[in-house]
């Protein structure tokens, strides 16, 4: 017999598990640790019934998941068993054809590695803004930082990624100009 509360919590898990996973992964950079953090996050929510009083469900879940992931990261760092970043191979395929999908998958994997290489203070706002399209005010409330700082970090993160991507994939125009000069 499932009570109403259990049904609501089950719906919450099915609705927000992936979002919580992305927040945890942005901190831990490891899928197994991130999944453990997801389970711990929902278990805490189920124990203290805090999810029922949350005004902003997304921000509340992101805040709890971020704290849980940070605790796990500190514990793993103290133990010295912090796992290295791993690439998620479950990249959504496009319908542009298998060759184009392979190219994009490769590019996504490269960009994901670049995101992993970002500092955590830049990576987390970027993931939060991209995952569920949270605005700067909500991200600032989650991370307890000013809204202006969130915007600065987002710009800085995107700028770094663009620079790295430009170095990795030189634009065709620049290549053409160099060919003409030669």
């Amino acid at each position: 017999m499932i009570t109403k509360e259990e049904a609501e919590f089950t719906a919450l898990v099915q609705r927000r598990s992936r979002f919580v996973f992305r927040v945890a992964y942005a901190v831990l950079l490891n899928a197994h640790d991130a999944e453990d953090a997801v389970q711990e996050t929902f278990l805490k929510l189920y124990r203290n019934h805090g999810w029922r009083q949350a005004e902003n469900e997304q921000a509340f879940l992101a805040r709890v998941a971020w704290r849980v992931a940070l605790d796990r990261k500190r514990a793993a760092k103290a133990e010295g068993s912090m796992a290295g970043p791993e690439l998620l191979l479950d990249v959504p395929a496009r319908s542009d054809g298998p060759e184009q999908a392979l190219v994009e998958a490769n590019q996504h994997a490269v960009i994901h590695a670049m995101i992993d290489a970002l500092p955590e203070e830049l990576r987390l706002p970027l993931v939060l803004s991209a995952a569920e399209e949270l605005n700067s005010r909500e991200i600032g409330a989650i991370l307890r930082i000013p809204e202006g700082t969130v915007r600065t970090r987002l710009q800085r993160a995107r700028q770094i990624l663009r620079q790295k991507l430009a170095r990795h994939n030189p634009p065709n125009d620049a290549c053409n100009q160099e060919t003409q000069h030669a």
Binding site: E40, A75, L165
Partner: protein, 225 residues
């Protein structure tokens, strides 16, 4: 700038798929099944796993957290108990040491009177006439029953009063030897010995020292050298 737009588009699409486990990953089912597992309400798998991942020094901290204060408290208790018991033990030891000696010191005082000591002091008059003191104490009028009861309450068993104060001690071997020598030596020799002892106490004469005055060296001695 078309290449910039292309980069932004590529970034946005990569960010949208970043850390996404996907819809078919079964994450929700795994979370729900772990929550529904027996024992999930109390000690969860992740809690246990997290605890097991702790290094040994962190897993032992509850034992240390209990052992260190307990050891400190025991040490403090022992030191305090030692400080408090030390004067009591000293008093007890002193009482045990003095208790048997007092009768032993007073007991031989009476037999000594019949020994060699009494031979020399036979003609001397004692400093305190104990019989006269006892007679005076007996003749003192009693002040009433209240006074006596109060005195008994304070000191119910008064210590036995001694005839001579301070309590006479038995003669040491040196004193006994001196008594024997004094009894056996004739009187002229004793007087000569006493005179010699008196002369030993006088200051010993020391002849005055004569130091010749220093003469200044000859002025031409350095020139000759």
């Amino acid at each position: 700038m078309p290449e910039k737009d292309e980069l932004d588009r590529l970034l946005d699409s990569a960010l949208a798929s970043y850390a996404d486990p996907g819809t078919g990953s079964g994450l929700e089912q795994r979370v729900l099944s772990s929550l529904a597992a027996p024992g999930a309400q109390g000690n969860t798998r992740s809690d246990v796993a997290g605890y097991r991942r702790w290094p040994a020094r962190y897993r032992r901290w509850p034992a240390w957290a209990v052992a260190v204060p307990v050891a400190a408290a025991l040490l403090l208790w022992f030191s305090i108990a030692k400080i408090h018991h030390a004067p009591a033990i000293q008093n007890q030891e002193a009482h045990q040491a003095n208790g048997p000696q007092a009768p032993a010191a007073s007991a031989p005082s009476h037999p000594d009177r019949s020994g060699a000591h009494n031979q020399t002091l036979a003609g001397a008059k004692p400093l305190i006439d104990s019989q006269a003191v006892m007679a005076r104490l007996k003749s003192r009028p009693d002040t009433g029953p209240n006074r006596s009861t109060a005195t008994e309450a304070v000191n119910p068993e008064p210590l036995p009063k001694l005839d001579v104060f301070p309590t006479p001690q038995p003669l040491t071997p040196q004193e006994q030897a001196l008594v024997v020598v004094a009894a056996q030596t004739p009187e002229p020799e004793l007087r000569a010995l006493i005179e010699a002892e008196k002369q030993n106490g006088q200051p010993f004469p020391i002849a005055a020292a004569h130091i010749p005055p220093l003469e200044p060296p000859d002025e031409g001695a350095h020139d000759r050298q």
